[in-house]
């Protein structure tokens, strides 16, 4: 795409054009190529050592019994078979991760979209954006520790549920009925600011003329939102749902801090399963296999989203 303009623009003034082309192109072209290799070398070297090689290693490791210390032996697909058929923890972690995503994704998208529209009418839009972004930028460990305090049985949430509404609060994080939803609420609080900014920017770029035309045609309120604004923003919605989906399937830190996967295994996520297989049970082969299964899930769902986007994402604008 970009190469044609370069050739056109670098074509020298008419006087020079008379010179034989091959020599002109050969000289600087080769030099340019060597410069390019030089420029690329740190990035390519780093990517090879720290990404491409580990990916290849991860494939190999998933096929081996590979303890952190001790003898390795080839197993074929046994690690995968173990995870899918024998390991009681893995399928539970898949279920938990899906449950988290199924709760977190719609809540996050709907709330951040709603908030983005709400603040778009304010002249302090920028201030609101920054304020809602605070938990998105502060360390997840800190956010989780703060919420752990809020969720304590004698903590503020329980206190106000009791004194304002007379509801006896459950022990949010220790009750298997409320642990996951508590993690989700904290995560939505943490993650909403990010998507708010993406949506907010998309709202700012909505074409005025189309909106005005729609209003003249009588589109107001919810109708205007559903029929005009939302379709115009569909690329942003698609982007946000895809990215949020990917990150929520990788949830780890907040559950690790809030519940350590408990009570029982009711909030153990796929990443925690990988972490524990690898670095608590010290069975790196099983951990690698689990990581590939996580990757497969992410790829599969992302692929479905990309295939499905034709039905509802409009890129005309």
């Amino acid at each position: 795409m970009a190469t044609r303009p370069i050739e056109q623009r670098t074509r020298p003034a008419p006087g020079f054009a008379a010179r034989p082309r091959p020599r002109r192109r050969g000289g600087p072209g080769r030099r340019e190529r060597w410069y390019a290799y030089g420029f690329l070398s740190p990035g390519v070297l780093g990517l090879t050592v720290f990404t491409l090689f580990p990916v290849a290693m991860a494939v190999v490791m998933s096929l081996y019994d590979w303890p952190i210390f001790g003898q390795r032996s080839f197993l074929g697909l046994d690690n995968f078979r173990y995870l899918l058929l024998e390991d009681p923890g893995f399928l539970v972690s898949v279920r938990n991760t899906f449950l988290f995503t199924a709760l977190f994704l719609p809540l996050n998208v709907v709330l951040s979209l709603g908030l983005a529209f709400w603040i778009s009418g304010s002249r302090w839009q920028q201030v609101f954006r920054v304020l809602f972004f605070i938990p998105a930028i502060t360390p997840m460990v800190v956010n989780a520790v703060i919420w752990k305090m809020l969720y304590q049985p004698q903590g503020v949430i329980a206190h106000y549920l009791d004194s304002w509404f007379g509801i006896a609060a459950p022990n949010f994080l220790a009750d298997s009925g409320t642990a996951m939803i508590s993690v989700v609420v904290m995560s939505v609080w943490q993650g909403i600011g990010y998507n708010l900014i993406v949506f907010s920017a998309a709202i700012d770029e909505l074409p005025r003329s189309v909106l005005e035309a729609a209003e003249i045609d009588g589109a107001r309120g919810l109708r205007k939102f559903l029929r005009v604004q939302l379709p115009l923003m569909s690329p942003a919605v698609f982007f946000v749902t895809t990215m949020t989906m990917i990150t929520s399937l990788q949830v780890f830190t907040q559950t690790y801090i809030l519940t350590k996967g408990g009570p029982g295994d009711s909030t153990v996520t796929m990443v925690q399963n990988v972490y524990e297989n690898g670095f608590v049970s010290r069975d790196l082969g099983v951990a690698a296999a689990g990581a590939w299964l996580l990757f497969a899930v992410i790829l599969l769902i992302t692929a479905v989203q990309f295939l499905g986007q034709k039905r509802w994402v409009h890129y005309e604008h």
């Binding site: 970009a2 623009r9 340019e32 190529r33 410069y35 390019a36 290799y37 030089g38 420029f39 690329l40 740190p42 990035g43 390519v44 780093g46 990517l47 050592v49 720290f50 990404t51 491409l52 090689f53 580990p54 990916v55 290693m57 991860a58 908030l115 603040i119 009418g121 304010s122 002249r123 920028q126 920054v130 304020l131 809602f132 972004f133 605070i134 938990p135 930028i137 502060t138 360390p139 520790v145 703060i146 752990k148 305090m149 503020v156 990010y194 900014i197 993406v198 920017a201 990917i246 990788q250 830190t253 796929m270 990988v274 690898g278 790196l284 690698a288 990581a291 996580l294 990757f295 790829l299």
Partner: protein
Amino acid sequence: MSTDKVRWTPRRLVSHVLLIAVTLLFLAPVVYAVATALKPPGETFADPASLIGSHLRWRNFADIFDYLPFQRFILNGLLVAAIGTLVVLTASSLGAYAFARLRWRGRDGLFLVFLATLMVPQEVLVVPMFILMQEFGWVNSYQALIFPWAFTAFGTFLLRQFFRGIPYELQEAATLDGCSPLRTFLSVMLPIARPALGVLAVFTFIGYWNSFLWPLIVVNDVSALGTVPLGLELFFGQNGSQWHLVMAASVISLVPTLLLLIALQKHLVKGIAATGLAGR
């Protein structure tokens, strides 16, 4: 909304009052954390609940240093994040320039390889990366905290997009003046790319500062090599019931990112809006 005066209809007023209430509720956990950090011991869950304890106990912030070397965690975090950011900026701007503006065979193919690596989640990499660190003798080292994640293709991709938007005329003028590609890169392209470099730098820095899973795996000796999230987790594990101290430590951990947010808010917002993915 811009400059024209907005009229305060009752509806707008109610909407704003509600919005401000929602914002305050949203920020309440952070405010409550700061308040708790200033409470005397044992008053965290005092009944009746109040934001401010019997007195403001600033000493909490000094006390946490008696339990764990928090200054060490902060310095470790700053060091790792600063060097990591420098490496990321160097490697990805050089690579991005070669992808965006130099002509060489295999360019598009190699770029596809770079893009493909973006899809691989960190979880797939951590397991073999740990083996790699063992082989390098890097387990429990600063190198292990810095280098494994300094060469992701994201920065290269982001800067390539930016470089492609810079007019060719500038590059040509430099070439006609006899600048080598390296010289052109250093004195023409980099200065223009400062906004993009800034966005990449901030998000990379925050990514390092906040990262948890990898330090948890590769650092054994937290009191020597711990970063802030790791140190906080350790502190929390040991003193979980002393909420006033836990919150003091938390608040200290919040400060660097909050300062960055306040100082660079406009750029951050623009950066997210423009690039979409950064900083996750």
